[in-house]
């Protein structure tokens, strides 16, 4: 654990100020329990509790996932600690009218990356300094140039395989799925009141954890995140069966990038690739 004390201190005072001035009803940030391996989400509603906020290199969770929740919303205006990557999720939520910008106070934290070793998403992160926040605590950090070729490396390693090899790989991986839906539930963008898998009449997706159902589920999940997923990696982190879901999301993000030059969540004003079109979109493989 490596607590960033500068950020933490400014964060704490900022949160305390926001709360004491009544500008927010709650500050969602990270806290750390002794002996815990990660810093966990924490909801601060009193200024004096602000000192419990920390910011370190184990703040994995994407706090944006809490924004659609009624319970959290009922606390009033939400102050939320956002890393650059989290901000992308919030931008998507804004774009999809899930939250209103006016209901949020975005407390940006400059972030040099999470995890030791660094998470892959952090190694290709171009949002070390979140932009468009209401405030940023701590000093800006250096934004290293990223190796763009590494951005989709997990997907790329699978792309290199033959169709049969890929099927072998994925049928194995997807067979493990126990349909706990942790992937969905931790995803900040899976805010559906009713997930497609919960839709009956007709039943879109078999809920049984057999490969048929698992393929359908994972295809649907991946597809519903296509053009939306911001690559926060929470799904993969949450999966109790260690299915490499990130690679799937990467693959689709890569497609959106290559076909439409689209990177999700860079702005709340962007148009999702599947809600727009160009007359001259790629059309290879159509008979």
């Amino acid at each position: 654990m490596n607590v960033n004390s500068t950020v933490t201190e400014s964060l704490q005072s900022a949160a305390a100020t926001l709360l004491s001035e009544g500008k927010v009803g709650v500050v969602i940030g990270y806290g750390r329990d002794a002996g815990a391996s990660i810093s966990h989400p924490m909801f601060i509603r009193k200024p004096e509790d602000a000192e419990r906020l920390v910011f370190d290199d184990c703040c994995f969770g994407n706090l944006a996932v809490y924004l659609p929740r009624d319970k959290v919303r009922s606390m009033g205006k939400i102050g939320i600690v956002v890393k650059g990557c989290d901000l992308r999720a919030i931008n998507v939520l804004l774009r999809e009218h899930v939250v209103k910008r006016d209901d949020l106070v975005l407390i940006g934290v400059p972030c040099t990356g999470q995890g030791d070793p660094l998470l892959h998403k952090c190694s290709v992160c171009e949002q070390h300094n979140p932009e468009g926040c209401d405030m940023v605590v701590g000093d800006p950090v250096e934004q290293p140039a990223i190796d763009a070729t590494q951005r989709y490396k997990d997907a790329a390693s699978l792309d290199d395989k033959s169709l049969e090899e890929r099927w072998a790989f994925w049928s194995g991986q997807l067979s493990k799925c126990i349909r706990c839906y942790a992937c969905r539930n931790v995803c900040p963008l899976c805010y559906c009141k009713r997930c497609i898998t919960e839709k009956t009449i007709p039943q879109w997706i078999d809920t049984s954890a057999h490969l048929r159902g698992n393929v359908a589920w994972n295809v649907a999940r991946a597809f519903h995140l296509t053009g939306r997923c911001v690559g926060c990696g929470e799904c993969e982190r949450a999966c109790p069966m260690d299915i490499p879901l990130g690679a799937i999301n990467q693959k689709m993000a890569q497609l959106m990038d290559e076909w439409y030059g689209f990177h999700s969540g860079l702005s709340p004003d962007e148009k999702a690739p599947f809600t727009t079109f160009k007359v001259d979109d790629p059309e290879t493989g159509i008979l």
Partner: protein
Amino acid sequence: MIQKAKNETTDPSEWQPRIVAFLCNWCSYAGADLAGMSRLAYPAAIKIVRVPCSGRVDPMFVIKSFEQGADLVLVSGCHPGDCHYTSGNYHARRKLLAFRELMTFFGIDPRRFKISWVSAAEGAKWSNLVKEITDEVKALGPFETYSEILTGETGP
């Protein structure tokens, strides 16, 4: 278990693929209709599901079709620019092409999923298209990947 249909018992030489085709009402369906009216024959393996527009096709329909034992799925709409609903086929094009990539990434044979533009005047194109894809799927044989998992017996 979901029925694996008559395929298994049939002699491979007489094996008939099952093709699910989602045709937009205004172009491709009319094109198929024209083929019929023009007495242009094409293989009966294809089962047509009429949709108002190719944009109506949720990619999950494709998965659904495979789950039901389809050996090949076709989505066919109006040519770009000719959509009866202006832009449905443009949206379909984005979604379906991305979906095919996703399938491919999972190792699900993309040759099992075809997209085409057939206009209402292209009865002959329709007829030829069905012949071609039927021949192709015949060459590919039954969709083993999916028929294996149809049983639902695999799993942890």
